[in-house]
């Protein structure tokens, strides 16, 4: 089996899984109430115009399995229902909020790697010394802390005590948002050439991303440390030494390259925790992403939004798992060629 077949199989599995998740969200939304309109419209189910429209479009007077079919086709056409408290279709709301969450996710992953990898290397290099124990304590505290703790803690220290960073929002009040071209505020401000807006946006990203990164980096550090210690005892390291390879090349080219492989398998856990964390982090920092949207939908009991967000998160996770599988195959030749 070669690379292409491998990817196609994974893709097939991904599609199957997503179909399964839509089945779950469909079932859940119909468990909310006997009236199928509620699943699509929430409280707006009583609105006669919308009701008639949805009954017709999604065949809500047909048996359940037919409804499911139309549900899926609706999804594929981008129709995710109507959000009452937002006053707009869910797909619109998602289009507005998703880019913000992706911005946080991007920097969170960057920070996670920037903190997790060096600390993993250090704790392996100085294993069983005070440095190692210190790092272990640090990351354990991070993993164990609920996200709201990290967020609140950072808020107290960096904003209220040291006055280094803003307390929330995507931009400081008084700074007009850039023209939405890509919907990614950071990119848009660069396109417009508004450097100060860009920096302000970054300013507001630091704490949310950091709060997430502090809670996740521990997984990377832990696995990398164990993996490096494992690899350093391998026979091929001894061979490389016998060849006359210097210690630096030995560590980075030979050892680390092999030690990094198990870390890739963490991608799944990392993304899951990342996604979960955005709910709390965005709520606390009032960052207008999907997490905040979800929390608001929750308090408003907006079922269409909640189901759509669940689905959206599933898509993110499935796609990133797929990417991780591909990355794993690239990094480990044995997986690729067997």
């Amino acid at each position: 089996m070669n690379f292409i077949t491998f990817i196609l199989r994974r893709l097939g599995l991904a599609v199957f899984v997503l179909l399964g998740v839509t089945l779950i969200t469909f079932t859940l939304s119909h468990l909310v109430s006997n009236n199928p309109l509620v699943a699509w419209l929430g409280r707006a189910a009583s609105n006669p115009k919308l009701a008639a429209l949805y009954v017709q479009k999604y065949h809500l007077d047909s048996p359940l399995y037919v409804q499911f079919g139309y549900y899926v086709s609706g999804l594929l056409h981008g129709d995710l229902g109507f959000s009452v408290f937002k006053g707009e279709p869910v797909s619109e709301a998602l289009t507005q909020t998703l880019p913000f969450t992706l911005q946080i996710a991007f920097f969170a992953i960057l920070l996670t790697l920037a903190i997790g990898i060096p600390l993993g290397v250090l704790s392996a290099r100085y294993h069983h010394t005070a440095v190692d124990y210190g790092i272990t304590g640090f990351y354990l505290a991070g993993i164990a802390s609920p996200y709201f703790l990290l967020a609140l803690f950072l808020l107290v220290v960096l904003t209220y005590t040291l006055h280094l960073l803003p307390s929330g929002g995507a931009l400081s009040p008084g700074i007009p948002p850039p023209i939405p071209i890509t919907n990614f505020q950071l990119i848009d401000s660069l396109i417009e050439g508004r450097w100060s807006t860009f920096l302000d946006g970054l300013d507001h990203l630091v704490m949310p991303s950091l709060a997430l990164a502090l809670g996740i980096f521990g997984y990377i550090t832990r696995v990398l440390r164990a993996s490096i210690l494992d690899v350093l005892h391998a026979n091929y390291i001894r061979t490389a030494r016998a060849k006359g390879v210097d210690e630096n090349t030995l560590f980075f080219k030979h050892a680390l390259r092999n030690a990094a492989i198990p870390v890739v398998t963490l991608a799944s856990i990392v993304v899951t925790w990342l996604v979960t964390g955005t709910l709390f982090v965005e709520a606390i920092f009032a960052y207008p992403g999907v997490g905040q949207y979800a929390v608001q939908a929750l308090s408003n009991l907006d079922y269409p939004s909640l189901m759509a967000i669940t689905l959206a998160f599933a898509v993110i996770i499935v796609l990133s798992n797929l990417a991780a599988d591909i990355l794993y195959a690239i990094v480990d030749p044995e997986i690729r060629l067997q």
Partner: protein
């Protein structure tokens, strides 16, 4: 007399264990002549691997505590060198290959890339900036051809896990020889291979020695292996050399009772009905430093003198030496 490639002088190595120091090597001396294959034979724990690793400074220093003695190579005492200096001797002066080819090659790089790394190290040490891709490529293929690997171009592009054990060991040899060392230390290179492949690899090593002017120090527990390819054999027991001789001499006239015992252990086809004669007694405790012959407890010809003082290596006949008091009987 031509100068030795390597001269080991009274080398002693101690390991630290939680029950006290373990004397892995005690005052071992041996010389390796150019263009010769010297085999060091002994059971596990006799110190032969420590000897090999100790020469090029590959002994892991936390468990290893003391290293005394001298190792002369090209008029330099390798034991005097610091970590960076001795690194320069590895590969291009003295190369080493190990027992398990399966795990001895880096699994994430292609075989050709790993050989290329060896060549690059050699070039940089010679201040030879051979950056020509084609040149490197053809040299890699040539090195694989030299170890009789067919379809070398193809093999160079493979990852280690795609190749057989015998192939991997040949590649290890190719990689070592590509650096043009004067001495190749081979630590149990054929133990992990099946018998047929074993014979092939040994024959290959023997032939290559003449082709590329590299001496070989072969470390093995198997006397039969030594008999197939060695010029000179040194038998080790309990961290000491107990007998050394030219190969035919050793096999036709073994002097030390341990060597005799080892030879009696080799199952030969002719004596199909005879029982194997194992050597009596238990494996040594290397934590004790003793003043008597270490083999005394197990020796079938032991005398009082053997318990009184330790026999040194003494000449029996010509280049044949043994550490035994038996010759005084004659």
């Amino acid at each position: 007399m031509t100068e030795n490639v390597l001269t080991v002088e009274n080398l002693s190595i101690d390991y630290e264990s939680n029950r006290g120091p373990v004397h892995a090597l005690e005052s071992v001396s041996i010389g390796i002549q150019p263009r010769s294959l010297t085999a060091i034979v002994g059971e596990s724990g006799c110190g032969k691997t420590s000897l090999g690793l100790g020469v090029i400074g590959l002994l892991p220093m936390p468990p290893v505590k003391n290293i005394n003695g001298k190792v002369w190579y090209k008029r330099v005492n390798l034991l005097d060198l610091d970590k960076e200096e001795i690194r320069r001797y590895r590969g291009t002066e003295i190369a080493m290959i190990f027992q398990e080819p399966i795990t001895s090659l880096n699994p994430v790089y292609r075989v050709g890339q790993q050989i290329e790394e060896a060549i690059a190290i050699r070039d940089s040490r010679n201040n030879h900036k051979n950056t020509d891709a084609n040149g490197r490529r053809s040299e890699i293929v040539a090195s694989l051809n030299r170890v009789r690997i067919a379809d070398a171009e193809n093999v160079a592009n493979r990852y280690p896990f795609e190749l057989s054990g015998g192939m991997r060991q040949r590649i290890m040899i190719a990689m070592a020889l590509a650096q043009k060392p004067s001495l190749l230390i081979a630590d149990e290179p054929t133990t992990a291979l099946d018998v047929t492949t074993q014979a092939q690899v040994l024959k290959l090593m023997r032939n290559l020695m003449n082709e590329v002017n590299t001496s070989i120090l072969l470390i093995t527990h198997d006397l039969a292996v030594a008999s197939q390819v060695a010029d000179k054999v040194a038998v080790m027991y309990g961290g000491e050399i107990v007998e050394e001789a030219e190969v035919n001499e050793l096999f036709s006239a073994p002097f030390h009772p341990y060597t005799q015992g080892l030879l009696a252990c080799i199952p030969t086809g002719s004596k199909a009905k005879a029982r194997l004669k194992p050597i009596q007694g238990n494996v040594l405790d290397l934590k004790q430093k003793v003043n008597y012959c270490k083999f005394a407890p197990r020796c079938p010809h032991v005398m009082d003198k053997c318990w009184a003082s330790k026999p040194n290596l003494r000449t029996i006949k010509g280049e044949h030496r043994a550490a035994c008091y038996l010759h005084e009987k004659q």
